[in-house]
Amino acid sequence: MNTLFDKIWDQHVVQVVADGPTQLYIDRLYCHEVTSPQAFDGMRARGLKCFRPEQIVCMPDHNTPTHDQDKPISDPVSKKQVDTLERNAREFGLKHFGMMSKDNGIIHVVGPEKGLSLPGMTIVCGDSHTSTHGAMGAVAFGIGTSEVEMVMASQCILQQKPKSMRITINGQLGRGVTAKDVALYLMSKLTTSGATGYFVEYAGDVVKNLTMEGRLTLCNLSIEMGARGGFIAPDEVTFEYVKGKEYAPKGEAWDKAVAYWRTLKSGGDAVFDKELVFDAKDIEPRITYGTNPGMGIGITEAIPAEGDANFNKSLQYMGFSAGEQLLGKKIDYVFLGACTNGRIEDFRAFASLVKGRQKAADVVAWLVPGSWAVDKQIREEGLDKVLEASGFEIRQPGCSACLAMNDDKVPAGKYAVSTSNRNFEGRQGPGARTILCSPLVAAAAAVTGVITDPRTLL
C-alpha cells in the first residue's frame, strides 16, 4: 500500500476486469526483431492498425552481427528477421532505428540513453530484460508476443497486479565491487524464483549511490530472481541523466515533468508484501559456477560441497566439482557487453583494469558496446586506444554473445567469462559454459587467462 509501484500502476489502470486481470495503459512499447513478427502478423490477420503508433519504437538488436554491419547479414534467416522488422515498422508507421544508424543498439541501452524511457512511465517489450528501464523510476516489464500484439492493438495489456517487494542494501560497496556483484549476490540469496510474482523496489544507500549505469545493471537483472520488474525511485541522479536527452521533455515541459517526478517515491507509511535488507559489507566480487544465475559465489569462495540432483546436473555440464574453488581456473572466452553491462561505465571499468597490461594470448575477447552512442563515447574518451594498446578490439553494437543468435558463439565445452545475464545451458552457444561476472572480473580474467580476483590488480 502506498508504494511507488502502487502509485505508478494505479495511475495507469484503465479498468479492473471482473474476477480477472487489470487493464493497464502502456506508455511505451519497444519492439525488436525476434519477438515482434508474429505480433505484426496477428495485427494484419485481424485487420488492425497500431492504436498509438507514436508510442512504439522498434530496433533490431538480437541478430545483428558485431562486425561488417554495413554489409548484408550473411545468415539469410537472421537477415529476413531484421528486414521483416524494418518492413513492419514502415507498414505500421512506427519509429525504427535500423542497423548502422547512429540510433541503433540494444533496446535496453538505447531507450534510456535517448530519453525514451522516463520516470513514471509504464514500459513493455517482448523481452524479459525490459526490467532494465525500471532504473529510470518506471514500471517496466517483459512480455510475450501475444501481449506485444495486445499493446499494438490497444496500447493496453491485461495483467494481474504483482505483489510488491522492497530490497534495501545498506552500507557502502567495497573496492572492486559493482552493481553487477550486488545483483549476483541478490540472485544467489533469493534464487531464480525468489521474487517471482513480485515487483521489486531497490532502496538503501548502496542504491542511492549507484550511477545511472549501475542502476540500469541492477534493475536489468531483476528478472533473474524471477521478479517481473525492478525499479528505483527517481532522484537527482535520474534527473541529471535524463536532462538534455533527445526525447526528454524540454523547457517548461521539463520543469513540469521534474516537479511531477519528484513526487514519485514510496510513502513513509508504505507497506510492502515483502521486505528484505542486506548489507554491502557482505558482498565481494562474484562469479557464477552453475547453469542458472542464482548459482553464484563470492570470487574467493568455493562451490558448495553438496546439492541436489539439479545441482549435480549443473556441475556436470560446467565441468566443475562440488567444493571446488574457481580462482586460477583457466578460461577461454571473455565477453563484455549485453543490456546488462554494455554501457560506457562498463567499458571504463574494463579499460581501467587492462590499462598497461596485455590480453592473455589464448583468450578470445569480444568487447561489444551496447549502442552506437556508447561506441561514440568510448572513442571520445580515448578508451578505444587504451583497449587496443592492450590487445583488445571493439566490435559493433548488438546483443551478441549474450544469447548467440548472431555469429558470436562460444564453442562447446569452452569457458566464457561473461558480463551478460544468463548462464543457462547452451545460452552462449550449444555446449558453451558461462561464468557470469562484472566487467572488472571479466577484465581480470582477460589479462590473466584465469579466474582472478580483480582487487589484486586494482
Binding site: D75, A153, I223, E224
Partner: protein, 196 residues
Amino acid sequence: MKQKFDIITSTCVPLPLENVDTDQIIPARFLKATDKEGFGDNLFRDWRYRPDGSIVEDFVLNDPQYSGCILVAGKNFGSGSSREHAAWAIAGYGFRVVISSFFADIHKNNELNNFVLPVQVSESFLEELFQTILNNPGTLVEVDLPNQTVTNKTTGNSEHFDINGYKKHCLMNGLDDIDFLVANKEKIEKWERQRS
C-alpha cells in the same frame, strides 16, 4: 491454437527437473522464424538431440513409454527469457497442459495466451504424481477446468488449482485478450483524455 478447453484426461510426460528455463524449452538459435509454425520439432532440442543430430535415448521425450498431452515438470518451470516461442513449442509438440509446483510469471501468461493450461499444484501432489508416473507410465491425470481440479487417477488424489474467472472463460470459449481489448477502445480513449 484457439482450442476450447473443458476436461482433459491423458497420460503424462514427466520431466522431474527444477528451474527449466525457456532457453532449454527452445534454444535461441531457433527463434529466427517469423511465423509460429514448427517450434514443436525443436522443443527441448538440446536435451533431445546431440549436436550431431542423433537422438538422446534416455531423454523423456524420446522414451516410448511416455506420451500424452500433459507435461509434468519440476518447480519454477519456464524461467528466464520471455520468448513466447517456448509456449509455441510446447503447444506445437502437442501438450495442452503443463503441471508444476511453480511457474515463472511471463511464461505462465504465454502458455495461457496460447491455450496451454498451466496447472500449479502443491509440492507434495507433484512429488506423488512423479512417483506414480515413473512407476506406471500409463497413469492417467484428469484436468477439469470448469471445476478447477486436477486428479491423479491412479491414487485418486485431487487438488484444486487457481485461475482467474476471466481467463477461465476465455479458455473455455476460445476467446483471447485482444478481442477483449479491441472491444474496449472507448474506455482507453476516455482514460487518455482524463490523463491529459
